[in-house]
């Protein structure tokens, strides 16, 4: 069974790892994730799709302490097996702050400003049994 991107419109799986697909505005250089067709900063529609950076710093964080509802959640929802996971915004220099799962779920190991990098994380399986990969940020 293969490993597949959770959604190819928002993330490519490359030999170098996952790459998030965002919007760059050609008029004002503003970035948005995921890709959209107009710029909310300057209202221009002259935009292009780019791979966002993979390294940044943690800007805000929390720990998800209970299983999200399924649907839409693809991960573990059995309260007995569920493991808390981190969620945060990571600031990608010159681009934006992206919301992401974090590989760390210990509050004493998370600090605003710490260096993080993009990694892939198995979240669930599709109808054919392939592993679905989503994105997460891990401490460098």
């Amino acid at each position: 069974m293969a490993e597949l991107s959770i959604n190819e419109n928002v993330m490519d799986l490359t030999p170098e790892g996952p790459r998030l697909k965002g919007m760059r505005c050609k008029s004002c250089n503003n970035h948005v994730f995921p890709m959209q067709k107009g710029c909310p900063k300057c209202t221009s529609a002259d935009v292009e799709e780019v791979h966002l950076g993979t390294k940044g710093t943690l800007w805000a964080w929390t720990i998800q302490g209970f299983p999200p509802k399924a649907p839409p959640y693809l991960g573990e929802t059995d309260p007995a097996k569920f493991k808390p996971y981190g969620v945060g915004y990571v600031e990608l220099p010159g681009e934006l702050k992206v919301e992401s799962r974090l590989t760390v779920s210990d509050p004493t190991a998370l600090n605003i400003g710490m260096e993080m990098e993009l990694v892939g994380e198995k979240i669930g399986k599709d109808e054919e049994g392939n592993d679905l990969i989503t994105f997460a940020f891990a401490p460098v």
Partner: protein, 382 residues
């Protein structure tokens, strides 16, 4: 200050869980109470704005209230749904189109955290699928960052919740009416760090109806008209930090609460120092703390001392969420903003019973905030 619009009747169906009673029936019950309060019949109402997010199209309630042919317009506007129904009613009367009408909000949500569907048709919902798309995460992240930035402690979060449940225990219409200690709040399950179970409100059920009339005709209906000095709704600007946002800009801007608050004070011709009682959106206890500053009632960071000194208790300098707020009442989205106005009308009439703010409050403030980055503020006066 203009005295163009008055609230002449109020009605509320208790908040909570009501097996076998639809959201719309709860709304209809609230309308009947409000009509009795204003000494009018349903047939006297010339227009209605109705808000519900999850309990059906409000205008279909004419089939149980009476087919009088009135203008009935539905309003759906996220967490500001009730507030948006109110501002629409306010502007309708100010415009001179009608003399008397209704703002009604009701809802009935499933148990547990709000389920948010972010998927586009034809593709996998990566956002919810990955375990984001939870409003609770936003609140955890925002207060966690705020606490570090401004020196707010978990004790302050617990004080807000304990106050809410204490005030809720004095409110016969509240859902959670059992007082809880700060310790019990801190020891409940950690849902979204640093917020525990009893620091969060829950989606719930309920309905609130308000009857509005031209101010110069208000004494026809009530000896105690309460005047709506301003009602403002604002959406987010570029750079603000909002709920359910897969990405944020590098730039920073104040949220819609700051914009709505400033405009509401300006329109009413009063300032934060004039407010005698305030109902502020407390989706979780951290939200109440941040909203105290965002609405202009203190500087960022001063909340820690204000809470420790009891300044936001019913007997304090600035009573906040005197009916127990969302924490004790739950959040039926369509009705929640109108509940705040209902509570302020009671307080300004002097009818709030065991939870009455002392010394005849004269000016009162409400504030809602929610998805997708929207805020509504009203200012009422005697």
């Amino acid at each position: 200050m203009s005295d163009d619009v008055a609230i002449v009747g109020i009605g509320m169906h208790p908040f909570g869980r009501h097996e076998g009673v639809s959201g719309m029936e709860q709304g209809a019950a609230a309308i009947r109470t409000a009509c009795a309060d204003a000494n009018v019949e349903w047939a006297d109402l010339e227009f209605a704005f109705g808000g519900s997010v999850a309990a059906g199209n409000p205008d279909s309630m004419v089939s149980q209230m009476g087919l009088t042919g009135l203008q009935f317009i539905n309003v759906v506007n996220g967490c500001a749904t009730g507030g948006s129904a109110l501002i629409s009613a306010y502007n309708t009367i100010k415009s001179g189109a009608f003399d008397i009408g209704l703002a009604i909000g009701f809802d009935k949500h499933e148990r547990g955290a709000f389920r948010v569907n972010t998927g586009k048709s034809g593709e996998r919902d990566w956002y919810g699928g990955s375990g984001m798309a939870l409003t609770t995460q936003f609140f955890g992240m925002k207060i966690n960052r705020y606490m570090e930035e401004y020196g707010i402690t978990q004790d302050a979060l617990a004080r807000v919740s304990a106050k809410a449940f204490r005030n809720g225990s004095l409110n016969e219409n509240a859902w959670r009416r059992q007082a809880l200690s700060e310790k019990e709040v801190l020891q409940s399950a950690m849902l979204s760090y640093p917020l525990t179970q009893y620091m969060f409100c829950s989606p719930g059920e309920g309905g609130v109806a308000l009857i509005l009339a031209r101010a110069d005709k208000a004494h026809k209906y009530t000896k105690n008209p309460i005047f709506l000095k301003s009602a403002v709704v604002r959406s987010r600007r570029y750079g603000s930090f909002e709920v359910l946002a897969p990405s944020l800009a590098l730039d920073y801007a104040d949220g819609p609460t700051v914009d709505a608050s400033q405009k509401a004070f300006e329109a009413a011709g009063v300032g934060p120092e004039d407010i005698d009682v305030a109902q502020l959106q407390d989706t979780e206890s951290g939200a109440e703390i941040m909203h105290m500053a965002e609405n202009g009632f203190c500087e960022h960071g001063e909340q820690e001392a204000m809470l420790a000194n009891g300044e936001t208790e019913i007997t304090g300098r600035l009573p906040v969420n005197t009916d127990g707020g969302c924490l004790a009442n739950g959040e039926p989205v369509g009705a929640s903003g109108l509940r705040q106005v209902y509570e302020n009308v009671l307080q300004l009439r002097g009818d709030a019973g065991k939870r009455q703010v002392p010394n005849n409050p004269k000016v009162a403030y409400t504030h809602v905030y929610g998805a997708p980055g929207i805020s509504g503020v009203t200012i009422l006066s005697t």
